[in-house]
């Protein structure tokens, strides 16, 4: 029971950290960035190359990975999403799927389809014993990273000038422009932060489950998107809560019901939550003006 709970939190914390990036971009730019999972994969590969080929220490590798992904996020936004700023949201969604495939295939060309194994960057940290169960150091780091990022993002959007500008853009682009906010720069900034978070998520995902392939980010990306919807998309604490709950439900479903039905159980719970509370667990109800 305790072991399953810990395993659930450890899986869920990985979903949560990816969901934070999803929900941040959705909350401000009001678009689903389906390429988020693939930016995570790129982050993983950059960290892998820095450690395995260049011999950099893990901390420097994480910084390199954040740097590359931030640039990548700005470039993707500028090339693929900015020209579609006034197009329908469906067009942007399809473009995001296109970017996702582009990144996967580019990774296939650069790093080939051969699976790479991510080095254990937390090897010198001890595991914690709790009631006969081990908690891996990566789980603790992931949970801590989640909390730090969640608090930092909340403070950033509520206290800083840029953060306030982001919230203004998310509420009404037109009015924000009238108030003298540079909408394009604000949205680029959002993507930069979202992609930087993706790099951190990539390193943590690959540390927890150390196989690295061009499709590594795809499935966790979709699960994390589910987690973000579960917690209330657009809500930063909601992403964290949704991610952890998703992980715990998945593990409990496997352990106590059936390993074959775990995904069915996860999505059944999601459907029930959305039926009862359509905005997700912590989602704010936004009145749409017609």
């Amino acid at each position: 029971m305790l072991a399953n709970l810990i395993n659930g939190i450890s899986l869920g914390s990985v979903y949560a950290i990816i969901a934070l990036g999803y929900t941040m971009v959705y909350g401000i730019a009001k678009m689903l960035n389906f390429a988020h999972g693939d930016v995570i994969m790129v982050g993983g590969y950059v960290a892998f190359c820095s450690i395995s080929y260049l011999g950099w220490p893990p901390a420097l590798a994480v910084l390199a990975s954040v740097f590359v992904c931030t640039i990548l996020g700005i470039v993707i936004e500028g090339l693929a999403y900015k020209p579609l700023r006034n197009a329908t949201s469906l067009a942007v969604l399809i473009t995001a799927i296109g970017v996702s495939y582009f990144l996967q295939n580019a990774a296939l060309l650069i790093w080939t389809s051969n699976t790479k194994v991510f080095p254990n960057v937390f090897a010198n940290l001890p595991a914690i014993q709790l009631g006969g169960t081990q908690i891996a150091p990566v789980t603790i780091i992931t949970v801590l990273a989640n909390i730090i990022i969640m608090v930092a993002l909340t403070l950033f959007t509520s206290k800083t000038k840029m953060g306030k500008a982001m919230r203004a853009v998310s509420e009404d682009k037109g009015a924000a422009t009238l108030m003298g906010i540079n909408v394009n720069r604000t949205i680029s900034m959002t993507f930069a932060i979202g992609s930087g978070l993706a790099a951190i998520a990539g390193v943590l995902l690959c540390s927890a489950y150390p196989t690295l392939m061009p499709t590594t980010g795809a499935m966790p990306g979709i699960k994390a998107f589910t987690a973000a919807v579960f917690g209330g998309i657009g809500s930063i604490p909601g992403a964290m809560l949704g991610g952890v709950l998703l992980g715990v439900i998945e593990i409990f479903g496997k352990a106590y019901v059936s390993t074959q039905l775990s995904d069915a159980i996860v999505f059944a719970v999601l459907i029930i939550v959305l039926l009862v509370k359509p905005t997700g667990l912590l989602g704010r109800k936004i009145r749409e003006k017609v």
Binding site: A3, N7, L11, T115, V117, A136, M219, K254, T259, S262
Partner: protein
Amino acid sequence: MKKRIVTMVLAATMGMGLMAGCTDATADVPATSGSTDAGTTDAGSTDAGSTDAGTTDAGTTDAGTTDADADTQASAGGKLTGTLNLGMIGPLTGGAAIYGNAVKNGEQIAVDEINAISPDFQIQYNPQDDEHDAEKSVNAYNNLKDWNVQVIAGTVTTTPCVAVSAEANADRVFMLTPSASSPDVINGKDNMFQVCFTDPNQGLASAQYIVDNSMATKVAIIYNNSDAYSTGIYQTFNSKAGELGLEIVSTTTFTDDTANDFSVQLGEAQSAGADLIFLPIYYQPASLILQQANNMGYDPKFFGVDGMDGILTMEGFDTTLAEGVILLTPFSADATDDLTKNFVSKYNAGYGETPNQFAADGYDCPYAIYKALEYYADKNGDLDVTGKSAEEICTILISVFTDPNFSYDGVTGSNMVWTANGEVNKAPKAVVIKDGVYVGL
């Protein structure tokens, strides 16, 4: 249509011409074989009359005219002579080219070796490209027929093989596929045989191997139930284990979408007291299972199938995690037996890479056909394949391949025998991972 009839008539005339020529050839060849016989008996010096090379020659040619005499001679062991037209069909270009070329290279090495060791029996080898496309494969097959193919060592991939084998079955052309592993390839076709295991057979072989070597008393299985390969092996393993009384204490699954976290599956196996975990899965999820079991401090035996092959070549993989993992694989380039060493070094020298399983399956094909023809000659008297129709060769090869006494030792398994429906039965090779390399068991 008209064109086709004309071609057929032409082909028939050519065939007749060959047959006509062939009577001459048969008259000739026993003579040559007689003289070599004389040579060998000379060396053995058992036959007193053999010193008279001329007389023996004459004698054999005379004997050759009456079949009965030839047959009585046969029990002593006839000789295989002539030239065999061996065709191959596979994807030499396109997405699956890596498989087709591996088979082609493997078969080419075998053909060269056979031609070198048997001066009287030669193989003409003709590989054709099908781009892993069923329609193009049938075209390639028609090309081979125009070339008077007698036996086909192909095709390489399953879907084209199903199409071509239907044609070949109607035309009575013997086919031995190196690598098309689906049961659909052989079902209902008596002319069609496989060198590779059918996928489900790996499950049978694994269960048998575990029981025969009493490797475990309690077995846990983790398989991918979103994958036909994995599920197929699991099902046959499960039923065979029941038959053999092997106790399965835990069966858990995952899907392609949940192939990250195995803590529950491993926890269940551990609490059920499993001392061996059977993993009929590919190597990527297997590597995560090994890692997570290690984190849990759980150390059972792990037993994999050919999908596990590749785990050691994963970049950055800590091979100490795979220490002691046993896997059932038809071929491992690191094996240390002479057959494998010879094949691997020749392949390396010729093509600059380490042969994979497809190349090894390919290598075994011409040899199996050669050994089968030799076996037939040994049983039934001198066999000259030159000018024999594909149908005659087909009848001969079916009789040998279904003969329970015929077996062949190849690089992909020793003691291969075939069932009447075309499946291969061979002692699977198991290897254990020691210090980061495969070691044969």
